[in-house]
Amino acid sequence: MSGVLVGFAGMTHLGVNSAAAALARGFRVVGYDPDREVIEALRRGDPPAVEPGLPDVLRRHASRANYTADIADLSRCDLVYIASDVPTDGSGASDLAGIRRLIEGVSGALARGAVVVVLCQVPPGFTRALALPGERLFCQVETLVFGEAVERAMHPERIILGCANPSATLPAALEEFLSAFACPILPMRYESAELAKIAINCCLVSSISVANTLAELCECLGAAWSEIAPALKLDRRIGQHAYLAPGLGIAGGNLERDLATVCKLADAHGTDAGVVRAWIANSRHRRDWALQTLHGAVLSKLEDPVIAVLGLAYKQNTHSTRNSASLALLAHLAPFRVRIFDPVVPATAIPNPRCHAASSELDACEGADALAIMTPWPQFGTLDPVQVARKLRGKLVLDPYAVLNAVACRAAGLEYHTLGFNPDGIRTEK
């Protein structure tokens, strides 16, 4: 066990997953949050975010964790991570007021010589503007992925560290902590680190936009994006882990935030952000895929149709509904009867008086004219298309993320639609 005591200020998704990784790497941790209910829940082993493996990691290392709502408890720490999620507005712009208040509070509680690391997503220029001495102030790029947050926090590919002086030796406590993750450490200027995070997300959105653009063409041409994507991944210049799955627009909040930041900075400095705006437009366009498909096949044809919707979270293995494509769809289904099921998010998240909170996937399908699988929860993939067909009144299945088997759905008599593939393109004959 290391002697370094690591503090995490802000027990949100970012903070609690990062704290879990620190615990798993053998460090003692102080987890601070001003919300007493969050702290009490953490003490009971109930984290404020849904992530695979998170409760288990927290439980296994509970003896080295101290959760507190008293900011003074951070005074014992050698280094403190500012790890609160940064909220965004509808346009993706960050609201940094809460983070500034948190940093101010933490600064007042710090031990002499303790190091502060800003882990949350902040725009270029934020860290350098803080009133803390440069030799004790760093920013670190977080690259958590909802649904894989613990794994990625424990096994980062590299650590991007923003420093006042990138060539200076790191403080001992920080050096010891970061070295425990056994990956390259890349010190750079604060601004470079802050922009590196944005650059990573821009690359991801770029890949997603390529996938979405060409998947839409596939739907018109009888091609299947699912056949093309593996070929791209075998290209060394693209890679196995490239984001090439088409989706219903970017969601979750973090990518949107970075795109908004790039546009804002480009506007301020007169640089070209046209391609970023095109990504945003493409994302909005693809978000409407389910609504447009449903409209064409059911809403414009049936009187008072019933729509079953599986999944509310913005992606699988998370409770987050930030910019969820499912919620966006449901907002436009308000005049219709909907039957909803999500393994984690309660149906009460939907302000639709004609919404039925289903007890299971098949209960949601009961008597529905169409089924839309809006979140690719793994358990939805185990649904038997024959049973789905029996429960549904209609035949339409929208499965944007292809969690079901297209051929099996067709064999069950379902009209199956997915992203990147036109069902009329299914041909078994030569």
Binding site: A281, D288, L291, Q292, H295, L299, K301, H332, A334, F336
Partner: protein, 294 residues
């Protein structure tokens, strides 16, 4: 995205139609009558909006509780020159002056897809306006004039190519093809008719307008079906109605092929149960109406 000022459909107290005698105006009038919505239908014969006195005359006819549908315009077949532009602007100037004086509960301004650059192949309401001729510039300016009316909820409708029995414009598409097939048994295409366009039946335009009136919708909405067809497909649909061989003639292509598709997501979001007449059905309907009329 448009915003419904009345989320629940509510009949307007009265609808004032300006340009009521035209092709679209007549269809809207029919729709209003079917819904028993009181209306005041004014045409150029009743009130010449281009004349300076029109502002006061219209103001006297208007009530603050009216919904005004502004359709009156000199279309390109009446002139594409600067004097036509100025007359059209004068019509809007007088209309706005009247509304500014009396007020109104809602204004629907009928614009045109000519406000978009004709070279743009995929159009939504987010597509930047970039009129390429005086007609497009006229509608763009009139949109801004309408929106400058203080305190008036304004909806701008931008229709794509409209077809129907009573269309007088005879522009390239279903109307001209039908007349050509009837007259000479021959439809002549530009090139092979490869260009795709979105054709909307006038009854769909009227129905969409009515929905917007019932909800006092504001913002900008394209009036399009979301489905584009090549002119060759349109010619075939028309030809099919005649039950005899109508020759579809291709000519050497003089201009590059351009396409126009509409993203109608905003229309679906505003009216999730909306349905449009498919082109084949619309062409058949017009054909039936033509036979009945003759």
């Amino acid at each position: 995205m448009i915003i419904h000022q009345s989320p629940a459909a509510q009949k307007p107290e009265r609808v004032v139609l300006l340009g009521a005698r035209g092709f679209i105006g007549a269809a809207i009038r029919k729709e209003l009558d079917a819904q028993r919505i009181p209306r005041l239908a004014l045409s150029s014969a009743d009130l010449n909006l281009a004349e300076a006195a029109a502002a006061d005359e219209l103001a006297a006819a208007l009530r603050a509780t009216d919904a005004v549908v502004m359709l009156a315009a000199l279309t390109p077949d009446k002139g594409r020159d600067i004097p036509t532009l100025m007359k059209n602007l004068a019509m809007m100037q007088n209309t706005c002056a009247a509304i500014a004086k009396t007020g109104c509960a809602h204004m629907v301004y009928f614009s045109s897809d000519a406000v978009y650059d004709g070279a743009v192949s995929r159009v939504s309401e987010d597509t930047p306006t970039s009129p390429q001729d005086l007609y497009g510039a006229m509608h763009h300016t009139r949109e801004i004039m309408a929106r400058s009316l203080a305190g008036v909820p304004v909806l701008v409708l931008r229709p794509t190519l409209i077809y129907g029995l009573d269309d007088t414009h005879n522009s390239y598409g279903p109307n001209r093809f039908r007349r050509a097939a009837q007259k000479g048994g021959k439809i002549t295409l530009f090139g092979g008719g490869e260009e795709t366009r979105d054709h909307i039946h006038v009854d769909d335009v009227a129905a969409l307008t009515l929905r917007c009136l019932l909800h006092r919708s504001t913002g900008t909405l394209n009036a399009a079906t979301g489905t584009s067809h090549s002119f060759h497909e349109v010619a075939e649909a028309v030809s099919k109605q005649f039950g005899k061989t109508v020759e579809i003639v291709k000519t050497p292509r003089a201009n590059p092929i351009t396409h126009r598709h509409y993203d109608v997501a905003n229309t679906i979001k505003a009216f999730p149960d909306i349905r449009f007449i498919p082109l084949e059905d619309g062409v058949a309907r017009v054909h039936r109406e033509m036979l009945e009329k003759s």
